[in-house]
């Protein structure tokens, strides 16, 4: 009981500090510090309440136990990460994004194809494509190939739609100017249209980066070798090894946000000229 009261006390302190921070002069540090305090408060409360109420670790393990599982199972987690993220998600991401990009370039010259493919692409992008996973696992086997295939299918249409939209982002005045310079199709493509399309392309890349990891993990629920993040999560939950499952989720969270962060950094470097990237006042 003492621990639960301590948890409430921690909450009060954390919240008090955050309210105090919110009253200070606004600055860049404010939100970062505030978010960090909130996160630490939550983890401390989790630990104290789980221990205080003696919640069984098969329902909710305390953070210290998850950290312990994370450290002791480093090699397992690394193997799973390698199988699911590097082989499944990244391969699929590379193939899917480049296939969609090349398709977009191919259909760019035909107005007819654009009109036909865009509504179909938009429709498919809203469907629960993850349901294709069992079929692809049957076709490509239990290995990482089937996971990459799921990722390719999941990200193809969002990426295609975004790239096609980006390629039509230049307006007729700009196109006319390139014609005045008697630029060829490829010259105007590389020197103007691809650059103007970059914000849209990066939007597609960012959406795809989150979808890729989800696709690779969920596809493993349908069948996988005896390692992989999705495999570990589904069997670990079944065997009530929840500390290991949580450790795997921590890995997935870190991998997912790092991947997204890298793409976002690339976007910052490539589209520094775009108004949304300029320094906020």
């Amino acid at each position: 009981m003492m621990l639960v009261i301590a948890a409430l006390f921690v909450w009060a302190i954390g919240w008090g500090i955050n309210i105090w921070i919110a009253r200070q002069k606004p600055g860049r540090w404010q939100s970062i510090v505030s978010a960090a305090i909130f996160g630490i408060t939550l983890i401390l409360m989790w630990e104290l309440i789980v221990r205080g109420l003696e919640v069984s670790p098969v329902i909710l393990p305390p953070p210290s136990m998850i950290f312990h599982a994370f450290v002791t199972n480093k090699m397992t987690l690394l193997l799973d990460f390698y199988q699911t993220f590097v082989w499944g998600a990244l391969t699929g991401y590379a193939i899917g994004c480049s296939a969609a990009f090349l398709t977009a370039l191919a259909i760019d010259r035909s107005d007819f194809l654009k009109r036909g493919l865009l509504p179909v692409g938009n429709f498919v992008a809203a469907l629960p494509i993850i349901g294709m996973a069992p079929i692809l696992v049957m076709w490509f086997g239990f290995g990482w190939e089937s996971k990459a295939a799921v990722v390719v299918i999941m990200i193809f249409f969002p990426m295609l739609v975004n790239t096609v939209q980006g390629l039509s982002a230049t307006d007729s005045i700009q196109n006319d100017m390139m014609r005045t310079y008697s630029a060829t199709y490829w010259q105007s493509m590389f020197k103007m249209r691809l650059i103007a399309a970059a914000p849209f392309i990066f939007n597609g890349l960012k959406i795809s980066s989150t979808l890729a990891l989800i696709g690779a993990i969920v596809a493993e629920f349908f069948g996988s070798p005896i390692f992989g993040m999705g495999f570990r999560i589904s069997t670990g939950a079944g065997r009530l090894e929840l500390d290991l499952v949580w450790a795997e989720i921590v890995v997935a969270a870190i991998a997912g946000s790092a991947f997204y962060g890298l793409v976002a950094l690339g976007e910052r470097a490539a589209t520094f000229w775009h108004p949304s990237m300029r320094k906020q006042r």
């Binding site: 921070i21 036909g116 469907l127 993850i130 349901g131 069992p134 079929i135 049957m138 989800i214 629920f221």
Partner: protein
């Protein structure tokens, strides 16, 4: 006529090409099995025989669209008629109950998935809107919670699904609720992000106008912030409802004994009947399309009534 030629005709052509490719792929992917059978039977296959065989196999690697259509009819309409005829002579309500409770009827699984999706969607959206209101009105909350909400969009929260279900099962919560919880948290985050954006969308001039009229905080909220957030809300709702459906389906993969579209897919992948998986997949796709278009239609009507569309 020109509108048709410009907008509908290309889509029809593309769809027709996709279906033609589908039949071609069916021949390629299923030919192994056909050749195998011919070899064992000791006869040669002509091309027409090969095509005919690959399009009518019982357990093909890729079923043709007409096979999937047939399976869809067999597992919906035909099942209802069959069950109805078989319970001849029983009281009317009992017959209805028998038809509705038929575990092999695909429509029952659609209903199971839909009810979990809707329950989760309503809760997720409601909680999302409440949190967004809190974030907009409380600076401390904005500073501390908002970065986590944004980060949570980049992590695969769907990976939590099996654990949530197993844990809830072990403390005695089963059936519809665990699936809905997954649906709820998948629709929760897009709604929070969209609503925060929407509630902040009134610009300084509009807010000043409200101050000129000495509007208090609740008046500013009800008469300015909430109405201006509606377009943002609907964009989030469209993402949220599709995400809810995915959540419910993935939830059903873990507790397949209760049925649902996800359970049908898993069952199909265990026994190796691709037609069953494809039928469930088409049902899920139709459900997603219907749900998204309902939200889209509501959006059009509401926006028109509120004067967003001129």
């Amino acid at each position: 006529m020109s509108g048709f030629r410009k907008n509908v005709w290309p889509v029809l052509v593309v769809v027709a090409v996709i279906i033609a490719l589908w039949y071609a792929f069916a021949v390629v992917l299923n030919s192994n099995w056909a050749y195998d059978k011919a070899k064992r039977g000791g006869y040669e296959l002509t091309f027409t025989e090969l095509v005919a065989d690959t399009w009518t196999q019982k357990k093909p690697r890729l079923p043709t669209p007409d096979q999937i259509g047939e399976e869809l009819w067999k597992s919906t309409g035909a099942r209802i008629i069959k069950k109805w005829d078989r319970t001849e002579g029983k009281p009317f309500w009992e017959r209805i109950a028998k038809v509705a409770g038929d575990p092999r009827n695909l429509l029952r699984h659609v209903w199971l998935t839909l009810s979990a999706t809707m329950l989760g969607f309503v809760f997720g959206t409601g909680l999302g809107i409440l949190l967004a209101v809190g974030i907009v009105h409380n600076k401390a909350m904005n500073n501390s919670v908002m970065p986590w909400v944004i980060t949570s969009q980049t992590i695969p929260i769907l990976a939590l699904a099996p654990m949530i279900i197993v844990v809830l099962n072990s403390i005695g919560v089963s059936g519809l609720v665990p699936k809905s919880i997954i649906s709820a948290y998948l629709s929760f985050f897009p709604v929070v992000v969209g609503m925060v954006k929407g509630l902040r969308s009134p610009d300084a001039m509009q807010l000043d106008q409200m101050r000129t009229w000495s509007g208090n905080k609740s008046q500013v909220f009800w008469k300015l912030r909430l109405p201006s957030s509606v377009p943002y809300l609907f964009t989030s709702l469209k993402i949220g409802v599709a995400a809810s459906l995915v959540g419910a389906i993935v939830g059903e993969l873990t507790i397949s004994q209760n049925g649902g579209l996800g359970a049908r897919m898993l069952q199909g992948s265990y026994v190796g009947t691709t037609i069953l998986i494809w039928a469930a997949l088409i049902a899920a796709a139709t459900l997603a399309a219907v749900l998204v278009s309902i939200v889209g239609q509501t959006e059009t009507v509401v926006k028109k009534r509120m004067g967003f569309v001129k």
